[in-house]
């Protein structure tokens, strides 16, 4: 008898959730967890109820308030956006009717869905987890197959405990080398997207591996996986190691006792076999990567912070996209980004709002002040992150530097709560999308790491953070 064929991590996750193959090349896949938020969750739950269907197992579904909820200190249900309260109240009643645990506006565990799910041990290695939110891939950092879906697919997952899905292609991304000071997972993600394109991972599940990934703390791994959707990937994975398991142990919904031990035995098998087949391979020597900043309106339009705006469109892309991006951003071909004056700085979002992100930004800000006239905002990713940051005094560093210190939520990553930056204001942001008008009407977003955002806030212009880290 021949040895079993070597399997990738994706192969193993797929096989353990496969209920049956379906005609037409898709599969019926078991879904272990469904996460919802008030922006896309209420509509899914309402639509399900209208169709007379119920949630198969409400104990494996969870809901939070993050997208629409206000983040100004002392918030309640009110939002700046007209009608925002309706999302909150509809979600509250729909979650109650469906019997789903809701982390409400004032809950000590409230926060951005992809921040609280790991904090509470809702995501675990080897699980399938879906959420009507594209950044669900964040949670692949724990070795779970976690991906974003639409509201109709969420209804399907809630009602049947399954999804119909074509098997994604597998793409291994090996990160070698050692990152220099001030170079983070965010910079690596932007470097990769710029190299391979915003559709480079189309239809794939990326598996990040290599020494530079092993060296990352869990917050950095989540940042790296978070950006997978910006390659048009289905999701991203990192094989769970002892660091990941240690991070999860004792979290509220993680198993305990004998079940924990049994689970850990199973989770230690969740790695790609040495000879496993991948449909494609990428690699990046992280030693060569500098802090990155975007210049355009797609995450693929990024350069090293000390580099210039490209003089040519990306090969194969319509010239109109390039010209439109330059026009929208108010930039010229060949223009240097360092020194570009800023109106605002934003630290937050499911990409970069965890305790470690805030600590790294605070290192830059300690003893410094943001430039006069610049508006700077820090929004912790969860109420727990906020509490823990305050326990170590980070809020005092942010406040003393002139940052606003907010309640947890998605906030001005996309102004869903109605709060936004001004017309044509230039913002440096630790978020994930520099799309047109994403952060406000005609707002010009430059994506960067929390360090680069903090350093640039201090300088009042786009700035290399490295000199401020010494």
């Amino acid at each position: 008898m021949s040895a079993a064929a070597p399997l990738s991590l994706l192969d193993k996750l797929w096989a353990s959730h496969l209920i049956r193959e379906l005609p037409g090349g898709t599969a019926l896949l078991a879904i272990d967890r469904v996460m919802l938020h008030e922006r896309t969750g209420a509509v899914a739950l309402q639509s399900l109820a209208t169709a007379g269907r119920s949630v198969l197992d409400p104990r494996r579904a969870f809901c939070t308030m993050d997208h629409v909820v206000d983040t100004r200190p002392g918030r309640g249900d009110a939002t700046l956006m007209a009608g925002g309260e309706a999302f909150i109240s509809a979600t509250r009643s729909a979650a109650r009717d469906a019997g789903i645990r809701l982390f409400d506006v004032d809950d000590p565990d409230q926060g951005i869905v992809h921040v609280i799910s790991p904090e509470l041990g809702i995501v675990l290695p080897g699980l399938t987890l879906v959420c009507p939110d594209s950044h669900t891939c964040t949670q692949g950092a724990f070795g779970a197959l976690a991906w974003g879906i639409g509201s109709t697919e969420a209804e399907h997952a809630l009602a049947t405990g399954t999804l119909r899905m074509r098997r994604p292609r597998s793409l291994r991304v090996t990160l070698t080398g050692t990152t220099g000071p001030g170079v983070t997972a965010k910079d690596l993600a932007l470097a990769l997207i710029t190299r391979y394109g915003a559709d480079g991972g189309s239809g794939a599940v990326l598996e990040f591996c290599g020494p530079a990934v092993t060296a990352m703390d869990m917050a950095q791994r989540m940042t790296l996986c978070n950006m997978a959707t910006e390659f048009a990937a289905v999701s991203a994975l990192i094989a769970p190691d002892e660091r990941a398991l240690g991070w999860l142990q004792g979290r509220r919904y993680a198993p305990v006792g004998e079940t924990w031990k049994r689970a850990v035995d199973a989770w230690r098998q969740l790695a790609s076999d040495p000879e496993a087949h991948f449909d494609a391979e990428w690699s990046l020597d992280t030693t060569e990567v500098a802090p990155m900043v975007t210049w355009g309106t797609s995450p693929e339009q990024a350069v090293a912070v000390d580099a210039a705006v490209p003089r040519e469109p990306r090969p194969g892309r319509p010239t109109e996209s390039y010209q439109r991006a330059l026009h929208y951003m108010g930039l010229q071909p060949g223009q240097t980004l360092t020194g570009l004056p800023l109106d605002a700085a934003f630290i937050g979002s499911c990409t970069n709002s965890r305790l470690e992100d805030l600590r790294r930004a605070a290192r830059v800000l300690r003893g410094r002040r943001v430039a006069p006239g610049l508006r700077a905002i820090c929004v912790p990713g969860s109420t727990r992150v906020r509490r823990e940051a305050e326990a170590e005094g980070l809020h005092e560093v942010f406040l003393a530097a002139g940052f606003e210190w907010r309640e947890a939520g998605c906030s001005m990553c996309f102004f869903a709560g109605g709060e936004h930056f001004g017309t044509q204001e230039r913002v440096i942001s630790s978020t994930n999308r520099n799309f047109e008008s994403r952060q406000g009407p005609a707002t010009r977003t430059h994506l960067a790491s929390p360090e680069t955002v903090a350093a640039s806030a201090v300088a009042g212009c786009i700035t290399d953070p490295r000199p401020l880290l010494h």
Binding site: L124, R164, G257
Partner: protein, 214 residues
């Protein structure tokens, strides 16, 4: 769900790469919890002269008289990237768009199309460009025929291009099928899986509040 078989309609070119769902339906245009009332916000940032305004920008393709009533879009790579908001597809469908032809789609958006009876047809960039050129030749009507049975797009000039779509998606669209109804036909197999899986991975199956740990 409305079935899709064959459609002859005005086709509008919007040939830019990475048209994201914030462009298709900006956050500020999603004003209610439901799926309706979104057509007016479709492409709001490009379609109107002012952000938040309603005065049409005459330069935007869907505002040009020759593309009035368009039901087909011809777009660039990675159409529908970004946010998972299904509102993007609800807005397109409510506006009247039934098919989008592009070299590639973002995966969540593509699925959302299929679940709402909108056809995402994958066609090589060169073929999309050739169709766009054909629309502008001045000799023909600016319309195309999309045939989902044959997986073909026909230009008014007689050109034919074969497009790609997953077979299950094609069947769902042709039948106007509801995915949940189809899946519930497998209820017994799902139940059997859960019974087996509870033994293999008990930690997956939470007991509910008060006894969180399996």
């Amino acid at each position: 769900m409305q079935a899709f078989t064959r459609l002859t309609a005005v086709a509008a070119p919007l040939y830019r790469a990475n048209i994201d769902t914030d462009i298709i339906i900006p956050s500020r245009e999603i004003r209610g919890v439901g799926k309706q009332g979104l057509a007016e916000g479709l492409f709001a940032g490009w379609r109107y002269r002012e952000i938040g305004g309603r005065e049409p920008d005459p330069a935007f393709v869907l505002n040009r008289p020759e593309f009035h009533g368009a039901k087909i879009l011809l777009a660039g790579e990675n159409f529908g990237c970004g946010s998972s908001r299904e509102h993007a597809v609800w807005a397109l469908a409510e506006y009247g768009i039934r098919a989008i032809i592009a070299p590639s789609f973002a995966p969540i958006f593509e699925n959302n199309c299929i679940r709402n009876g909108v056809l995402p047809a994958r066609l090589a960039a060169a073929a999309v460009e050739s169709l766009i050129t054909g629309l502008d030749d001045g000799r023909h009507r600016r319309q195309l025929t999309v045939d989902l049975e044959a997986c073909e797009v026909h230009g008014e000039d007689g050109s034919t291009h074969a497009f790609r779509i997953d077979e299950e998606a094609r069947q769902m669209l042709l039948a106007g099928a509801d995915a949940i109804d189809l899946t519930l036909l497998q209820r017994d197999e799902i139940e059997a899986f859960l019974v087996r899986d509870r033994q293999l991975r008990p930690w997956v199956y939470l007991q509910g509040e008060g006894e969180d740990h399996p």
